[in-house]
Assembly symmetry: C2
Homo-oligomer: 667 residues x 2
């Protein structure tokens, strides 16, 4: 298996640009690319030396145990290497946990950051050092069996007892059990608990508490604590998502995280002054999810494109022999549009993270003006990109035919472990409706002649214009088309809302009755942002002309595909003519053919090591069939030639039917 599959090698060699230049574009220059490769190679070496096992061969329970082995190893290794930069940590871990969660994930991403942001200086000094050296291991326990999105609906109670200076933590109902937090089931001995605080008989809303749930030495659950794993899931086999119930346990007053709200010793509740800062970290996380979705889609499409160059199936011209499936236009349409999407989402993640950083600076200087628009934007594109990723990964799996269905393809794992992005950190529909509030407010402000923040300014665009898009596929005209469509969809959703209001429907119900069209308006808004971000990033970067030409084609393909598949929203009002739509479709097909020689180079440029793809179909060397057969032979059912079920069930059954037939034939 040392040589590269010749069909794959030939397509690879046809590229009109140097994929390394594109890798530099993605990873922010040659230096960072070099560093990325250095770190990922270190992690690769570790993975091999430690003989970590492939999750496609493990049971769910084995996956958890292996993940525990990996995450304890990884933390020590990261400490040794002194890695601190978030991007470097991400890239290092990506190799050891390829599309897989870590039981320590929530400790690092939520438990420590919540203490850091919501603890007082005293609390931070007490808990952060011990948490950082895993002296306590925690997770973030908010979601309950009966409650998710709606924070105020949580039922877990924290009642202050001023005599003992303690909180009493309780789970009063079945539905109040904490359910889902990652790392909760078996790994954590602490949680940041969101609970409904009552002090001096007063409802003080949801507050965060540090609660110990297991003994630090024996790891046994503490008295009054019932905790465990929630069982098998669609994916996330490596993660011990857990449940947690409290039977009136007591924690000291000092364990409420009191940077914002406080309970004084006598039980007096002190409200926070400003909680807008909380939005900031959600915004950052959502921007990161956007890029992460792009990266997950990039993995899936790397697998599918490489396999499509290796796989030969059916003839185009009868008798001319089976062709590489990448030569079928339908396959190109399925995959190349997803290559474009992956790039678009990765770029959008970068652009929105940049926007977050610049708005953060404004906030630090006391300027909160851009926070709402940034928050609205990050919510919307998180929803948009996770939906695109979800759809796209499954298309990649289907594009691999039957072989996409075996775990060795890597695609089921990518799908099942990445698709929760549609639900976590804000359920997508809920997020869209948050952004819709912002858009409707902005739209009405614009109607009144107010100036909008730059990201929403296109809502002021004139409504009656016609597109000037020609077969040259002018990039500014593509942006204009998307912004026109978004403005129009917002306008229509607003009209629907106003029409309900004008017929006397109450505000809340009118909003509900308009909500589907509001969601569609937010999708159009997100799409417009991403098209603009992608085009602006590509046209503003200093790129070799050979690379620039291909990236412009990708921008065009991304934009055309979105127009073709939502054509009604562009045709409405005659903005785009039938003739222009025909041009869009024809050019779309031409772009597929034009990108064909660059398809493998475009996915190679994502620079995923084979270990990260974890796919027998997506191997860089294209030796897919040998790898698949090797995977098959290692199936646990092949431990014996004859499965024990044969003696237990099949043979007695066959013998019974045989003797029955013999008896009947005698009768």
């Amino acid at each position: 298996m040392a040589t590269v599959n010749s069909d794959l090698a030939r397509v690879r060699a046809q590229a009109t640009f140097d994929p390394l230049l594109l890798t530099h574009f993605i990873y922010d220059g040659p230096e960072k690319t070099k560093r990325k490769r250095f770190l990922q190679n270190l992690a690769l070496k570790d993975f091999k030396e430690q003989k970590f096992r492939r999750s496609a061969e493990l049971s769910r329970e084995e996956q958890y145990e292996e993940a525990l082995r990996k995450c304890t190893f990884t933390v020590r290794r990261i400490n040794e290497l002194g890695l601190k930069d978030p991007t470097e940590l991400y890239l290092f871990r990506e190799v050891l946990f390829p599309s897989e969660p870590s039981p320590f994930g929530l400790h690092e991403s939520m438990f420590i950051p919540t203490i850091d942001k919501q603890g007082t200086d005293e609390q931070r000094a007490k808990w952060l050092p011990v948490a950082k050296r895993f002296g306590i291991i925690g997770t973030y326990a908010q979601t309950e069996l009966g409650h998710g999105t709606f924070l105020r609906g949580l039922e877990t109670t924290a009642t202050y007892d001023p005599r003992a200076k303690e909180f009493i933590i309780n789970s009063p109902t079945v539905t109040s059990a904490k359910f889902w937090p990652g790392g909760l089931g078996k790994t954590s001995n602490f949680v940041v608990l969101m609970a409904k605080l009552t002090s001096n008989g007063r409802d003080c809303g949801m507050q965060p508490f540090l609660v110990q749930i297991r003994d630090l030495e024996t790891h046994q659950p503490l008295p009054g604590v019932s905790v465990g794993d929630i069982g098998q899931k669609f994916g996330y086999g490596a993660m011990d998502n857990g449940f947690l119930k409290f039977n009136n346990i007591r924690i000291p007053r000092e364990n409420m995280l009191m940077r914002y709200s406080q309970v004084l010793e006598d039980g007096t509740f002190v409200s926070p002054k400003n909680d807008r800062l909380l939005y900031g970290s959600m915004t950052l996380i959502r921007s990161q999810i956007v890029g992460g979705c792009g990266r997950s889609l990039a993995k899936a499409v790397t697998i599918a494109v490489r396999y499509s160059a290796v796989r030969r199936q059916s003839e185009i011209s009868a008798g001319a022999g089976e062709v590489q499936v990448i030569d079928f236009q339908t396959q190109q349409h399925r995959l190349f549009t997803l290559v474009a999407s992956a790039y678009a989402l990765i770029v959008a993640g970068q652009v929105s993270t940049q926007a977050y950083l610049s708005v953060t600076k404004q906030i630090e200087s006391g300027d909160f003006d851009n926070l709402p628009v940034l928050h609205a934007l990050s919510s919307a594109i998180k929803a948009f990109s996770s939906w695109e990723m979800m759809y796209g990964i499954e298309q990649c799996r289907l594009a691999c035919g039957g072989h996409g269905y075996i775990l060795a393809s890597g695609l089921p794992k990518i799908y099942t472990n990445e698709v929760p992005a549609c639900t976590y950190e804000g359920e997508n529909v809920v997020l869209c409706l948050q952004t819709a509030r912002f858009l409707i407010k902005s739209y009405n402000a614009a109607e009144k002649g107010e100036q909008l923040p730059s990201l929403a300014r296109f809502l002021q665009a004139p409504k009656g214009e016609k597109s000037r898009l020609t077969e040259n596929l002018e990039l500014d005209q593509l942006i204009a088309a998307y912004e026109h469509r978004a403005a129009r969809q917002v306008q229509e959703a607003n009209a629907r809302l106003q029409s309900h209001l004008s017929r006397g429907v109450g505000a809340a119900e009118a909003w509900n009755r308009s909500s589907q069209s509001l969601v569609e308006a937010v999708v159009a808004f997100s799409h417009a942002f991403i098209v603009r971000a992608f085009i602006e990033k590509v046209t503003s970067a200093r790129l070799d002309p050979s690379l620039s030409a291909v990236l412009v084609q990708l921008c065009q393909l991304y934009a055309l595909q979105g127009i073709a598949s939502n054509s009604g929203q562009f045709l409405k009002g005659g903005y785009l003519s039938d003739q222009q739509l025909l041009v869009v479709e024809n050019k779309l097909y031409e772009l597929l053919a034009a990108l064909r020689p660059n398809a493998v180079a475009l996915v190679d440029a994502f620079d995923f090591p084979d270990q990260v793809l974890d796919s027998d179909l997506g191997r860089y060397d294209g030796n897919v069939y040998e790898a698949l057969m090797e995977y098959a032979t290692r199936s646990k059912l092949n431990k014996t030639q004859v499965h024990e079920g044969f003696q237990k069930y099949q043979k007695p059954f066959v013998d019974f039917l045989k003797s029955q037939a013999a008896t009947q034939s005698k009768l």
Copy 2:
């Protein structure tokens, strides 16, 4: 848990029609409904008495063993009961194998039928009785590691040796290994093997052979046979999909299935007279898949609708308390459109199966005229319905938020075990392109003034008309809109094809360059068929007016949703005006609200026992939270309070970091 959740009960009670009447509509009358319930209750009792285990709690290996136990039990039970009718068998098995495959599945659906249809009378007499009493257990081995769709590409060889009067069966390459057949890995001792026949040095094409692969007593693989399970997959844990390689093994001449092609003793190859009959069974299977996709979607949407009545989350009016999520328009949009799809696909399956039966009668009397159109239609709607199902089940899962992700929801199992319908029995894109050939041929025949078969007649419809659809949502206008759109899409695809041809592109390549638009035309064609089938079935049935009113609403919703989400194809050429599209959207939202009281009754009417749904979220009694918590506590990771990984990995790791910190603080 004896009482029904009050929120669910309340919605159930709001229905404006009797769901039992709708159940009769689905299951073809009160008598058959009674029989259906009788049989499913028997199977339910069996399932409980035998203490069969739930797959959501089993490892993949346990799933296979449990499935073997179940299928041996089920065959004996079916024999006892004397069940023979395919529908009755389907309904009985549905309870014992809820959305799960059986290791005997291919024996019954492919191995026996292939011997039956392709064996000579002598072969049938010899093999069928023994196969039917499982004296031999087989599967159908066609797909190879490197070859799927393209039959002529298969590499397994069968070389006739006239001296020994035997065939030599061989797997000459890595890619020639049979790969994927269900039941092959561990269960089967025989296969019907598709292999490339050579006789007297002549290539005689692909032929079917009966090949023994395991000893009938010991079940050990025979010499020269390498066989095993292929490992873990996205779903299908209960199925031992297998690989199979031959090293020049010999089988007697009599083991070639010779009803059509024959090899005489001296090696003379005799070609078949007419192989069109083969299309017939594929057509039936594909029609059945259509109904099966409807049924799978129906299961998913039953779960999601019931759970949406139980689940309360977020407020519509601030302070008014959390509402049932079914009250959110976005949730209604997601789910009610899928309820409509499920009904539409179930009906389409019935209609196309009926069409198959009547065409079969024509064929038996020597009339093959309608076979091509039926074949084209069944291919197209198989593709269309499996795509709709795939999309729809995942929407149902997302509609259940986080809880949709746990295996106890039942939704991941339904998805992963049903989605292979997009790939098996003809990969969807390949099927669409087969149908496209028929459509283009028909279109050009119509252009020449030839009369088309009735199912394709709308391709002759005038192209320039305008829709007369009003806010009364006339059913004939909805059908007309879909047929106009389909005709237009076929016309456009044909124009694209002709344009390539007229510019000198070769026929094969011109076809390829038009293939994406051809696929889209086939989708439009399928959609039109389903809309018409649904509407005609509903309007022609004798129904209680209370039921008829709701079913007409479902037809309208199905049609409107398709227009709204493909609006560009209806707006093109001004067929539908912007104003009409606005009406479509407004009416769509009105229908969602109108269907809200009937939502639970509409899914209850599918009449799935809880056991078939196999879902803690979709329970008829709505006691979802108790069930989920019970599932969680049974997680294998909860066998001990402290997982063994704690002592093995976590504690040493924590101790190490602690001692390291102690050392550092001393320095």
